[in-house]
Symmetry: C2
Subunit: 350 residues, 2 copies
C-alpha cells in the first residue's frame, strides 16, 4: 500500500512500539559516553571519573504552552533546551536526555513527527544523545517530561551556594525578551479568536518571538569561563525571572545583594513591545522568566576578564546577608527589597 501525501494518521495505527520505532530510528549518537541508547530497559552510560549531573523538567499543555501559537517543532526544541540550560548552569556539559510524553488522541502521527523533529534538532545542535523515554497517552493534551544528564570534573562544578560578599553579579545576554514575546503572541491570538481573517502583526519583533519560541542555552558562556580561566562562585539559569534567581543564589549562599536597575540589559524590541503594551519592561526582566540566560557571580578581582565581553553585563554585587537583597532604582537610587514574583505554576487556575 502506498502512502498518500498529506494523509493524516492516527497514533493508534502505529501502537506504542511502532511509534517508538518511528521516533527513534533516525537518532544519531554524539557521545562516546553513550554505550547503549534506546532499545533496552535502560540506557547504559560511561562517565569514567567525571561527575554526573542530572536535571528534569515537565511541560504541560495549557499551562506551559498554547498550541494555538506554539509550533510543535519549536516546542520540542525548547523542551530540550530548558533542560540543557540547567546543566550548563552547573558548569557541566550535557551528554544525554530521556524524553517522556503523554499524548491525547487529538495528535496525529505527523504532529508527533514535528515535535520529535524539534527534539532531534536540539540534540544535534547541542551534541546530546536521546537515550530513552516513555510514550503513552493522556486524557487531555500533551505532557512532555525531559531529563538531562551531563558531565563535569568535580573541581569545576558551580553550585548556587558559593557567592561571597563583594562578588560581582553578572548576567549573559539580555532579559525580558521571552516574556514580551509571549505577550505579543497572546495579543495576536486574542485578535485571531475575534476575527480569524486578521493576519497577525508580528513584523519587527522577530527577536522577542525567537526568545519565546526558540530559546537557546548559553553553552558559549562555558567556553568563556574555560578560555578566561574564570570559575564562577555561584551560577543559576534564568527560567523564572531575574528576581527569583538572584534570591535563590542569595539564599543558598547566605548573602544579600545589590542589583542596579539601570544595569539590567534589555533589547530594544523588548522595550518597544513593553511600551506598546503599556507594561514596565523592568517587570518583564525581573519576573517574566524563560530567558534561559546564565546568572553568575565572580570574584571582583576577575572583572578585567569579562569587562569587554559584549554579552556579559555586571548588574550588581553580592553583600552581607544582613544588608538584604535589594534593587537600587535608576532615578532616585532608592533601595527596594527584591521579591520573588516569578512565574508560579501552582497558583489558582482560572
Amino acid at each position: 500500500m502506498t502512502e498518500k501525501k498529506g494523509t493524516i494518521h492516527q497514533l493508534s495505527e502505529l501502537g506504542e512500539f511502532g511509534l517508538i520505532n518511528r521516533l527513534t530510528s533516525h537518532l544519531t549518537i554524539h557521545n562516546k559516553s553513550t554505550l547503549k541508547g534506546v532499545g533496552d530497559d535502560c540506557a547504559v552510560l560511561d562517565f569514567n571519573n567525571k561527575k554526573t549531573v542530572v536535571t528534569t523538567d515537565m511541560l504541560t499543555e495549557g499551562v506551559h504552552f498554547n498550541l494555538m501559537y506554539v509550533p510543535l517543532k519549536h516546542l520540542g526544541y525548547k523542551a530540550v533546551v530548558v533542560n540543557l540550560s540547567d546543566v550548563y548552569a552547573m558548569n557541566a556539559i550535557p551528554k544525554q536526555i530521556t524524553v517522556s510524553m503523554a499524548l491525547s488522541s487529538k495528535f496525529s502521527i505527523e504532529a508527533i513527527d514535528e515535535l520529535y523533529a524539534g527534539i532531534r534538532l536540539a540534540c544535534d545542535n547541542y551534541g546530546v544523545d536521546l537515550v530513552g523515554g516513555d510514550t503513552t497517552s493522556s486524557m487531555t493534551g500533551l505532557v512532555l517530561s525531559i531529563t538531562a544528564l551531563g558531565k563535569v570534573e568535580e573541581e569545576d562544578v558551580v553550585f548556587r551556594s558559593g557567592a561571597k560578599p563583594t562578588d560581582l553579579l553578572c548576567v549573559s545576554g539580555d532579559l525580558g525578551g521571552a516574556y514580551m514575546g509571549l505577550q505579543l503572541l497572546e495579543r495576536e491570538n486574542e485578535v485571531f479568536k475575534v476575527n480569524p481573517k486578521m493576519q497577525p502583526q508580528l513584523e519587527g519583533y522577530d527577536y522577542i518571538l525567537e526568545r519565546q519560541l526558540k530559546p537557546e542555552a548559553r553553552r558559549d558562556m562555558l567556553k568563556v569561563f574555560a578560555d578566561q580561566k574564570i570559575r564562577p562562585t555561584a551560577m543559576i539559569d534564568i527560567s523564572d525571572g531575574l528576581s527569583s534567581e538572584i534570591m535563590h543564589i542569595c539564599e543558598a549562599s547566605g548573602t544579600g545583594c545589590k542589583l542596579f536597575e539601570d544595569r539590567i540589559p534589555m533589547d530594544d524590541q523588548t522595550k518597544q513591545m513593553a511600551e506598546e503594551l503599556n507594561i514596565n519592561p523592568l517587570v518583564a526582566a525581573l519576573n517574566g522568566g524563560e530567558d534561559y540566560e546564565l546568572l553568575f557571580t565572580i570574584p571582583v578581582g576577575e572583572y578585567d576578564k569579562i569587562r569587554n565581553h559584549p554579552d556579559i553585563t555586571v548588574i550588581g554585587h553580592i553583600t552581607e546577608k544582613s544588608e538584604g537583597a535589594n534593587l537600587v532604582t535608576a532615578g532616585s537610587g532608592q533601595e527596594i527589597p527584591l521579591m520573588a514574583q516569578g512565574w508560579n505554576p501552582l497558583k489558582d487556575q482560572e
Copy 2:
C-alpha cells in the same frame, strides 16, 4: 497561626517553592554516589568507574491509574518501583531517582503529601535517593514522570540481546496477578458507582490486590545471580505481559523460543479470580502486564544452580530464529505463534 487538624489546604497556598520545600525537607540520602541532591539546577552524582544506567516512565491519570480505587500513597510507591524494576532488569543497582509531577487544582496539599509518602517509602525500602524533580500544574488530573539512575560494572550488564539457542527461559515469581487484581478493583468500582452503599468484596484476594496496588521489584534476583555466579544471557522486566517481553528478547537476540503453557507460574488467587470473572488466566499471564517480575535466559548448563529455587521457574527455552516464537499448549502440545498483545496505551481512547 496554628493549623487545625484535618484542614484541607490548596496547593496555591504554598506555591511551587513552598511545595518543593515541603516535599523534599525529609529526604534521606542513602548513597555515597549522591554528592548533591535536591536544591540546585542539577543533582551531582559520582559513579567512579561503574557504568550508569538510566530509565524513565510516565504515568497519567485516567490511563494508568484510576484514583477512585488507587490510594495516592500506593500510586507513589508503584511509580518508583516500576522504574527500579527496569534498572534491576539490566542487572544494575538503582541509586537515584528524579520525580516530576503535574497536578490539577483538585489536589490538596495533604493529597500530595500522601503521594510523596509513598515515593519516600519506596526510596527507603530500595535504598534509592530522590535527587531532583519538577512540580507544576496540569489542566486535568495527575501526571507522574520518574527517571531512575543505577550503577553496574561493565562486565555485569545484561541486555535483552544476549539470548542464544538452547538457553533456558526463566521467570521469577508468578504472573497474571496484577491484571486479575485490576479486574477485581474495576468490578468493585462499577458496583460502587451503581450503589455507593455497597461495601467492596475484596476478602480472600489480598495477594492479587497487592500485586496490582503495591508491586515490588525483584531486587532479590540480583542477589541470587551474584551468590550463584549466574550471569543471565538476556533479561527484561515484565511490564507489558509475558508474551510481549519474550518477543522483545527474541527480536533483540535474533532468536526464536518455545514457551510451555503448563510451566507458566500462576498463583491460586489469580486462577480463582479468573474463574470468577470468566477470564482465561493464560491471557492474564501472557498479556495482562504489570507483574514486574524478571524474565531472563541462562545457559542450559546452569540449570542446576536455579532448579531448586522456589521463586524461579523454567518456562521454556530459546530456539533458532527460523523456528519462530511459539507457545506450546498444555493439552495437545500444539505450537501457536506468540503475539505481542500487551497493553497498548496508544489505542483509541473511548
